[in-house]
Symmetry: C2
Amino acid sequence: MTLADTAYDSLRRDIMRGHLPPGQPLRLEALRARYDMGFSPLREALNRLQSERLVVSASMKGFIVAPLSLPEMWEAIEARVLVETEALRLSILRGDDAWEAGVVAALHALGLAAARGEPETLEARHAEFHLSLIVACGSGWLLDFARKLSAATERYRAPVLAGDTAPRDVQGEHAALAEAALARRAEEAPALLAAHYRRTGERIAARMAA
Amino acid sequence: MTLADTAYDSLRRDIMRGHLPPGQPLRLEALRARYDMGFSPLREALNRLQSERLVVSASMKGFIVAPLSLPEMWEAIEARVLVETEALRLSILRGDDAWEAGVVAALHALGLAAARGEPETLEARHAEFHLSLIVACGSGWLLDFARKLSAATERYRAPVLAGDTAPRDVQGEHAALAEAALARRAEEAPALLAAHYRRTGERIAARMAA
DNA sequence: CACAACAAAATTTTCGAAAATTTATGTTTA
DNA sequence: TAAACATAAATTTTCGAAAATTTTGTTGTG
């Protein structure tokens, strides 16, 4: 792995987890000190992240962490619903035994991580579960879009997840989703997925208003 | 505009027009001579193009122009159908007077370019027309995806367009599409759009087989 | 006091050389 | 002969300084 790849991963994680807050200018000298590398790999990583809309840049004025807003969140969620419902439909149509096994495994791992409560691994298992559902869709484009939209929406989830008191059986939603997918219910499973994402959006919108 | 932006535009155009053929290695020294700039802006451009799947790279082995294949073409076309039919639906729902005027103007300009027959401008007007249809969708994500998929599919069209003899009233399809969109027929217009893209795919597949 | 005009500082962008890695070439050995 | 290995060449990747640009601060002017 090259340094540019490392820079990409580090910056991406720090932006997604909010450690680099929205709107913050990304000064090259500061990044150089933080990640201990030269300008070149950092700039290459920033150019990639710009294509994924995690950072924005103005010519000759450098890069900043992409800002957040409620309208942008809904834009990302609705795009994600479009892409992932179709990808799930295709996975249900095309998925083989290995796909089914992957879904079962990811759901189980997610349950374990949720019980343990470590936010770091929980976040990773959550992403892996949602990926496992659509991974058999057969379209690299849809998987690519889903990955970018997942990163974009994750930025809204993380800061809110902390003080979330209202009860919600997320693991139950996940289980129902997995069951519908494995039973090849090509209408119900995408509907559950869409509702799942929109419910998360409502939850975030409610907390951001408060 | 920075040199990196120039490099991005030049490389993108040369790849889309097939002047840099699929699979060709993109040696930095050769690019440096071709575009008359240093390594840094070229590498930044290549990193962006990698995010758009126009080039692919292996760690420490540099970049190559992304290869073409019939399965990949259909993948891109079907993803494009998904994204643009939804974006068109939204445009029909939300588009205002300026949107309608833009569609009419783009259709007219496309007709003029087609009559004149300059492939360079025709290509640009064609892309502008299809963009005009969906530009009022209100989703930056969908427009972003559409732009990338448009670039990906254009690569298949260009080489085939030359020796295309079988008759097809493309401008008629475009006119019908615009009419349905402007009449706010939210079912028919997306269907016409999907058929339009798939027909182009069939045409290309037929010629690639021969 | 507002506001240009200019200079200084900070920052981004670009370059070319150095370092790291891969690929090609030739030589030895079993 | 063919595999294994060393060596050289080609190429990518990275660095740090130089160039270009923007931002900040200062001074002079109406």
